[in-house]
């Protein structure tokens, strides 16, 4: 049995729509600051496109730096949405209810943000259409389907499309509530979005079937997206540190790791910001923390495997890269920070139930995981290029410039901004899902026995 009290539906509507119906004092300043950072980053991107990639710190052996690191990081964050909502929906985990919407929306926005990174990292971004879309544009040349860079957009766009559908299906009943509670132009827009939702039995059935079907269909996409992203690196025969078969599962687990912690962090922020203590309860945070512990331990296994696979052959170039990663400044420091923040700090949540229920400690752990996972991608991608081959003649170091840093910061601001704007127009906690949970919780007395009011078909 779950904690928390059962609230009347009107109360749920009022509480969960308060992010839309009222504007907290901090809202517009937060939007303003995020917009400003995004604007500055966009200006720098424009300057970079105008001047050339020379303003970054990239040099001859290190051709993929901060941007690709950041791309993989955001793709990773985007993996939590489906993990939380599809798998847990299929597994009928009760505690997923308040988390699912925020997770899915985070998926969509981080995917969109991730997609901007490879575009701005190319030398001629205005020609990106030629490799994104499988069409020859009167040039007589279709994209080269042997290239992992062509698999990437197809996987990511499939994932984006299915995630948007997934969120939209789940939003329809909530749109209907919004339609009934708004006036004027907003009412018209919500009416159109709710697609004639009346809440009758047939519509509910269709909505539930669509949700289950999409959850099942989206799971293979979810696994394939990050596998394909990892093949960008795994397929590179010439970069010894990347050319590894363990990358696909390693990246998928890593992505879930960072994604789950990002979702927990967003949920805690929502709880504090909008006063949703009755909906995002400590038991939810605790359940998510348990998931985090499982995922991070799984991730740690793959991390060890990757190192062991690397050094097992004792090839000189592999050993050179591991030496660089583990013993030479600054990589040894990055390595230590990365291992501690990604695994050894959050895993402490395992030991105490009180810690898993303490929002501050959990927030710190979640932020630490994400710092670590960002560094993980960085330390996986860059040292491999620094010592690409045994030809020591071409070894060089990589120092990112301030411009790259600001663009990376800009992506964080962009995701925050999109989430903020989303929270203003759509409910971030699924209302109907919470109500459904409450109904499933209620019990009735029949004679001398207490039984659940509803049975679920399995």
């Amino acid at each position: 049995m779950q904690e928390g009290r059962v609230l009347p539906p009107e109360q749920i509507n009022k509480d969960l729509l308060n992010s839309i119906m009222s504007t907290p004092k901090w809202y517009w300043p937060a939007v303003g600051i995020c917009s400003l950072i995004v604007l500055i980053a966009a200006t720098i991107v424009g300057y970079m496109i105008n001047k050339g990639l020379g303003i970054t710190g990239l040099n001859r052996p290190v051709m993929w730096g901060f941007f690709i690191t950041n791309f993989v990081f955001w793709i990773g964050i985007s993996h939590a949405g489906v993990m939380l909502s599809a798998i847990l929906r299929l597994a009928k985990a009760e505690w997923r209810r308040p988390a699912s919407r925020a997770a899915e929306v985070l998926t969509i926005f981080s995917l969109m943000t991730a997609m901007t990174m490879p575009i701005i990292h190319t030398g001629r971004p205005w020609r990106s259409l030629y490799w994104f879309f499988p069409y020859d544009f009167a040039r007589g040349i279709f994209p080269n389907i042997r290239s992992p860079l062509v698999w990437d957009p197809s996987a990511i766009l499939t994932y984006l499309t299915s995630s948007v559908l997934f969120v939209f299906i789940a939003l329809i009943p909530d749109f209907a509530i919004l339609r009934d509670n708004t006036t004027g132009l907003r009412k018209k827009i919500y009416t159109a979005l709710s697609m004639g939702w009346q809440g009758n039995a047939r519509q509910w059935k269709l909505q539930i079937v669509a949700g289950i079907l999409l959850s099942a269909l989206i799971l293979p996409v979810f696994v394939s997206v990050h596998s394909i992203v990892s093949w960008d690196f795994g397929m590179a025969v010439s970069v010894k540190a990347w050319h590894s078969t363990v990358f696909a599962p390693y990246f998928v687990v890593g992505a879930v790791h960072s994604g789950v912690s990002a979702v927990i962090f967003v949920l805690i922020l929502l709880r504090q910001a909008y006063g949703w203590q009755d909906y995002i309860r400590r038991e939810h945070v605790e359940a998510l923390c348990r998931l985090l512990i499982v995922v991070s331990t799984g991730w740690f296994y793959y991390f060890c495997m990757e190192i062991i696979f690397g050094i097992y052959g004792r090839e000189a170039d592999e050993v050179a890269i591991r030496t660089l990663q583990f013993t030479l400044y600054p990589w040894n420091w990055i390595m230590i920070i990365f291992i501690v923040t990604t695994y050894f700090l959050p895993i402490l949540l395992w030991s105490r139930k009180v810690w898993r229920r303490n929002l501050l400690i959990v927030s710190i752990a979640c932020i630490s995981v994400n710092i670590g996972m960002w560094l993980e991608r960085y330390i996986l991608f860059v040292p491999g290029q620094i010592n690409k081959q045994l030809f020591t003649f071409t070894w060089a170091n990589y120092t990112p410039t301030i411009f790259e840093g600001i663009i990376v910061l800009g992506t964080f601001a962009l995701v925050t901004l999109l989430l903020l704007l989303f929270s203003k127009v759509m409910p971030l906690i699924p209302l109907y899902d919470i109500k459904e949970g409450d109904i499933l919780k209620t019990e009735v007395q029949i004679g001398r026995r207490t039984v659940p009011a509803t049975f679920r078909e399995d």
């Binding site: 001047k51 050339g52 020379g54 030398g123 001629r124 080269n144 860079l149 030809f391």
Partner: protein, 258 residues
């Protein structure tokens, strides 16, 4: 079905003759409209050298020796850079050349990452030349813009020019006989003062480089000859053969110094 490939260009580098004079580097710079390698570009580690002389020091002072290794695009038969390009900006043509099409390139730099020999170069900045050098640009070679990848072409413009000339003057295709008569070669080969670089057709029985490739393919692994190909174990099947340096004076083993 065996496809008969008419030409398969290749190169032989005799390390015993190479003096590390960098003549090839300069010749390449002039022939192929490379941007001027200013101090800035060097410090940013973004200098352009389609052919570079790698210099390695061996032993300890005073018993020290320099080894030179000219590295240009190896025009691999099984090039790692080709399959990863999403827009076919780099592909293998029917003459065994690894061709870079500048107009198609979007600058993902995946080919550079995947190049085993680090011979691909990215235009980080728009290339500029001083006013008085504008007129020295080679009209046969495209000037590359910023944001695209470029690399050694085996001076494909010279090969094309030879083909056109032969067709126009002798009304035949460029074949074994006419090729010997034209005697064309890339700029680096032409500039090499010690003839350390040799360019030719691997498929041409009479060509001077043919023998080296024949030998390498026939006695793979246990050959007495000096020929080898760099980083061959990755499976790139390069079209450039290096001939080992012959040491007249055996180096004292560095460990003997303690």
């Amino acid at each position: 079905m065996v496809i008969k490939i008419e030409h398969k260009w290749g190169m032989v580098v005799d390390l015993d003759k190479c003096t590390g004079c960098n003549g090839c580097v300069v010749a390449c710079q002039a022939e192929n409209n490379l941007p001027i390698n200013t101090k800035d570009l060097f410090m940013q580690k973004r200098a352009f050298e389609w052919i570079r002389i790698e210099r390695y020091w061996e032993g300890e002072f005073p018993n020290v020796k320099a080894r030179y290794l000219p590295v240009m695009c190896q025009h691999c038969g099984n090039a790692p850079c080709e399959p990863v390009c999403p827009v076919y900006a780099t592909y293998h043509n029917d003459q065994g050349l690894n061709v870079q099409v500048y107009n198609r390139c979007v600058g993902t730099r995946y080919c550079i990452n995947n190049c085993t020999y680090q011979v691909r170069f990215f235009n980080f900045w728009e290339p500029t030349w001083p006013e008085r050098l504008q007129n020295q640009l080679n009209p046969d070679v495209t000037v590359r813009t910023r944001g695209i990848t470029e690399k050694c072409t085996f001076c494909v413009q010279r090969i094309r020019r030879a083909e056109i000339t032969v067709e126009r003057r002798e009304r035949t295709k460029l074949n074994d006989k006419t090729m010997a008569a034209r005697n064309f070669m890339p700029a680096c080969v032409q500039a090499c003062p010690t003839n350390a670089l040799m360019f030719g057709d691997q498929n041409n029985q009479e060509d001077k480089i043919h023998g080296y490739f024949e030998e390498l393919h026939n006695h793979e692994g246990h050959s007495d000859s000096r020929g080898y190909r760099i980083l061959e174990e990755i499976g790139t099947d390069p079209s450039v053969i290096y001939l080992k340096k012959v040491d007249q004076f055996k180096m004292e083993h560095s460990e003997s110094h303690g």
